[in-house]
């Protein structure tokens, strides 16, 4: 959904986000929604400015989100509050799952298919009966378990269903059983949120959903940074699918991204396991030995992703140009193949083992922002070289001089051999480029002034580094150097600084015809025969022959459609709301006049409306696949199935594929918790979560008496992102001058900690001292009959700049969500005592 569409919501639950403080521009649309009559809810351990501006604040213990959301799901199912016409038609509620499926309530706290030794799941028992359902998201595939050939079963006929919803293994019955124990009483016992507050929120949500009304969730890294982060988001997806709040005005789930253009760097990824626009990275150990095999293994038989061969071939043509020919598999062998998990966290651990020799660090400050920063610094110290680019000196660049290990006396600067190269960067206004925001909106900006001194844009750095590498390997005859020789690297440069033309990069991402270099207008023009080149299929249309649409700034007038199609470009195809076919009923009519978005125009024989329809333009609502012909791709998707990226066009309430830790969200305690799992006592943690057990990265045991408090980390408005930009600027630094820990008054009294005095936090990984902020923003929880205190610390402080303080991330462990390897920063345990650290020498 578009950010501005939040203003059309009748309720918004902000959860896992302090939106008013960390996304203040986006929060304006919640304020507008409230002005129009919407009810705003903030679910969060802390009472923040977001909570203060909402109608309801529900305090919950960090890491108990799925218990809360699961309770809402139960409330919807048990009370029959779901939007029947929507959910029965558009979700997989009626689909029948394999007989072997077992939920955690009947299988010792884990789903069927769990391999205790490997700590990994097989998805076989989660499938639609008799089918193999391919995952639509490359990042989430269970590596090596699926192949395109297996998903041929999806082209042989529709999955079995029972629309009476009586079959014991239909998704509806499975979900009813699964969430039966998530009662309001259990929600209160697990989360600490008073039952009456929880029920009030349930009531707001269900009463304001349906044909005439819609609502949205807004979340940020307060959901993702958990060992169950993906499943928390999935839980919201289920609620929205049941209530019909998907693909409709004011309905959806707003992912508030943590940094500027993080959406863009996911689309054109800096991630290790995806090629641009969500294509799977080849793997050396899968059946990916040739392009033909890779395409066969990764192309789902049905749904939109069946077009995958066009996208990968066009990507290879964009990257390798004339060096990509049919005879050399369009350059497929030039692409590196994965062997293991080379995401940032395990590679940080690998640095300490000597695997990594050097590192480029751009757009981040891991000495402050990564978890377990003492281990991070140990890894840095093993590197031969490190390149750091930032607009001001940051902690990563000076770790060898003033780092936490140096200041603790663990190591002396002269003992660290890492050679650090610091390069000053341009700031946003000093360079041209695009920002892709949380709504997939690609907005262009020009350089408005020259960067001072030797500062250069990251684009300049990467481009000229690439030029030098190509020059270095130009005469090599080694096969392994062919990839860098074959790479197209012909962006025009301008000015004295030889700045690459950023729009040339966008033109390449958009794509063109190879023969006459004509810009493409839509990804539907892409081919798998080498005649088109495209750096990211979802972005096609951002730079059509008419010019750079990301530059456009034409808002709709008051009373207009409200989709603002003339304002920049939203991928794909300038659609503002994904799956907006769901805004019409199965016959193609809007569910209501108040909530109309796209609809079927029978006279014209096409989909039309206020947004660009996210559907095949002329596919009739009454189109049905002819299963006798084994239809593939979109031919297998009926005209009343809006979710075209899924193999059967259904919203997957139950996920037969694509999740590494279960087909349904299930409450597990955080990897560190002061209490046991009240819902599944035999299984405290997510069994598939990534735990890297090595010295210095130990986890606390369940209910470890040494670490009785729950700790969450957060950011502050005044010190943007990792903090450097605000800490080196006097007028923002003075607004948040020192690191602090938020402590509830009851605990402060128990421990004898005074407001503004010193307090020291500790875990087995490390300690940090901070000023005590004794505040009623935090209240004690009753969890399973036990009083549990919650603490909160901003993680944005370091030793550089005017506003300094201990790095909070020394407290955290390196661990990963099973699906994304994202670390846990929002729920861990710690100890707290009055006073300062003992291990620091003070003058």
């Amino acid at each position: 959904m578009a950010l501005w569409d939040l203003a059309n919501a009748d309720w918004v639950v902000t959860m896992g986000s302090n939106m008013a403080e960390n996304h203040p521009i986006a929060f304006r649309f919640l304020v507008e929604a409230k002005r129009r009559g919407a009810t705003l809810v903030h679910v969060d351990p802390r009472f923040t400015r977001t909570g203060a501006l909402c109608d309801i604040h529900a305090p919950i213990r960090s890491g108990s989100d799925i218990a809360f959301l699961g309770g809402i799901i139960r409330y919807i199912l048990e009370g029959d509050h779901w939007f029947r016409d929507f959910a029965l038609a558009y979700t997989n509620l009626a689909n029948i799952i394999e007989d072997e499926y077992r939920g955690p309530d009947e299988n010792g706290g884990v789903f069927s298919g769990f391999d205790v030794t490997e700590k990994a799941y097989s998805e076989a028992s989660w499938q639609y009966k008799g089918k193999v359902v391919p995952s639509s998201i490359a990042e989430h595939r269970v590596q090596g378990e699926q192949s395109g050939a297996q998903s041929e079963s999806m082209a042989e006929g529709p999955p079995p269903t029972d629309f009476t919803l009586q079959h014991p293994n239909c998704v509806y019955q499975i979900m009813k059983r699964h969430y039966a124990s998530y009662t309001p009483e259990m929600v209160e016992a697990v989360t600490g949120c008073p039952k009456q507050t929880f029920l009030r929120i349930c009531d707001v949500i269900v009463k304001n959903s349906g044909r005439e009304r819609t609502g949205a969730f807004a979340y940020a890294v307060g959901w993702t940074h958990h060992s169950t982060g993906v499943q928390i988001i999935r839980a919201a997806t289920i609620i929205q699918g049941l209530l019909g709040n998907v693909g409709r005005p004011g309905g959806g789930i707003m992912a508030l991204r943590g940094h500027v253009s993080i959406q863009g760097s996911t689309d054109i990824p800096t991630l290790y396991n995806m090629l641009p626009t969500y294509l799977p990275q080849p793997n050396a150990f899968h059946d990916h030995g040739t392009l033909e095999k890779y395409v066969a293994a990764e192309t789902p038989a049905t749904g939109w992703w069946h077009n995958f061969p066009k996208y990968i071939t066009s990507l290879l043509k964009a990257w390798y140009g004339d060096n990509a020919t049919k005879s050399n598999e369009w350059g497929y062998q030039f692409i590196p193949k994965l062997t293991g998990d080379v995401s940032q966290l395990p590679m940080t651990l690998a640095m300490a083992h000597g695997v990594v020799k050097g590192q480029f660090i751009l757009g981040q400050n891991p000495a402050v922002g990564s978890v377990n920063t003492l281990l991070v610094e140990q890894g840095f110290a093993k590197l031969e070289w490190m390149v750091v680019r930032d607009f001001a000196m940051n902690e990563t660049a000076t770790f060898w001089q003033q780092g936490s290990r140096v200041r603790r006396g663990e190591v002396r600067p002269e003992e660290i051999g890492t050679e650090v190269f610091f390069f000053p960067t341009s700031l946003a206004g000093e360079k041209a480029g695009s920002v892709t925001n949380t709504s997939r909106l690609v907005q262009w900006h020009d350089a408005v002034c020259e960067a001072p001194g030797d500062s250069r844009s990251d684009l300049w750095f990467i481009y000229h580094l690439g030029k030098r590498l190509k020059q270095l390997y130009a005469d090599s005859t080694l096969e392994r150097d062919r990839a860098i020789q074959a790479l197209t690297w012909d962006y025009p440069v301008e000015g004295v600084k030889q700045e690459p033309e950023a729009e040339a990069v966008l033109r390449e991402i958009n794509g063109w015809t190879v023969a006459d270099r004509k810009q493409l207008s839509s990804f539907q023009e892409l081919k798998d025969d080498g005649s088109t080149a495209c750096g990211g299929w979802m972005y096609t249309g951002v730079y059509p022959p008419s010019g750079n649409k990301a530059r456009e700034r034409k808002p709709d007038p008051p009373g207009g459609p409200g989709s603002h199609l003339g304002w920049a470009f939203a991928w794909p195809n300038n659609r503002r709301t994904l799956y907006n076919r769901a805004s019409a009923d199965p016959s193609g009519k809007p569910w209501s006049e108040r909530k109309k978005m796209v609809w079927w125009d029978d006279a014209k024989g096409e989909w039309t409306g206020l947004d660009v329809p996210d559907y095949e333009k002329t596919k009739r609502p009454d189109y049905r696949p002819d299963w006798s012909k084994q239809p593939h791709g979109m031919d297998a998707i009926a005209g009343d199935r809006p979710f075209i990226m899924e193999a059967d066009g259904h919203c997957m309430l139950f996920a037969p594929s694509g999740l590494k830790d279960g087909p349904l969200p299930t409450h597990y305690e955080p990897l560190e918790s002061p209490v046991g799992n009240l819902l599944y006592p035999q299984q405290p943690r997510d069994p598939a979560a990534k735990i890297w057990d090595q010295p210095g990265n130990e986890l606390h045991h369940e209910a470890d008496p040494r670490f009785p408090y729950v700790l969450t980390t957060f950011r502050v408005t005044e010190l943007h992102c990792g903090g450097v930009i605000g800490r080196v600027t006097p007028h923002t630094a003075e607004l948040q001058p020192e690191a602090f820990v938020e402590i509830p008054p009851e605990l402060a009294a128990e421990l004898g900690i005074e407001h503004m005095g010193w307090a020291t936090l500790s875990t087995v990984r490390g300690e940090c001292e901070m000023r005590a902020m004794v505040t009623e923003r935090l209240t004690p929880f009753q969890i399973g009959g036990k009083r549990v205190y919650q603490l909160g610390v901003p993680w944005v402080f370091g030793w550089e700049g005017y506003a300094t303080g201990d790095v909070a991330n020394v407290l955290l462990a390196i661990s990963g969500d099973a699906n994304t390897s994202i670390h846990t920063t929002k729920a861990l345990t710690c100890n707290l005592r009055p006073g300062r650290r003992h291990d620091v020498h003070r003058e």
């Binding site: 391999d115 269970v142 150990f285 080379v342 690998a350 695997v355 590494k660």
Partner: protein, 96 residues
């Protein structure tokens, strides 16, 4: 430690990891990685001094890539590939 001894230590650690199969022995994989990398670094140093064996360096790099799949797996550990890496390492050690 010499290159040969680093190789032997890596091989012993990888054997330990495989002996525990299908259980993943993090410590054995950590030791494998450390010794393999130490071996690689010495080969690189020799290359930079104008000597060394390029083919050996490439083969040890391939072994490291596979061993990391056990140390930091994507999903299940590809044990067959780890065994192949062990065999390749054994050959490297024996032909040193």
């Amino acid at each position: 430690m010499s290159i040969e001894n680093e190789g032997k230590a890596a091989l012993a650690a990888l054997d330990r990891a495989l002996a525990k199969k299908p259980e993943r022995d993090s410590q054995a994989f950590s030791a494998t990685t450390e010794h393999l990398c130490a071996m690689r670094d010495q080969l690189i140093a020799h290359r930079r001094e104008g000597g060394g064996d390029q083919d050996r360096l490439e083969r040890i790099n391939a072994v490291i890539s596979s061993a990391l799949a056990g140390h930091y797996p994507l999903g299940k550990v590809p044990w067959d590939e780890i065994e192949r890496a062990r065999d390749a390492l054994r050959e490297l050690v024996q032909t040193a």
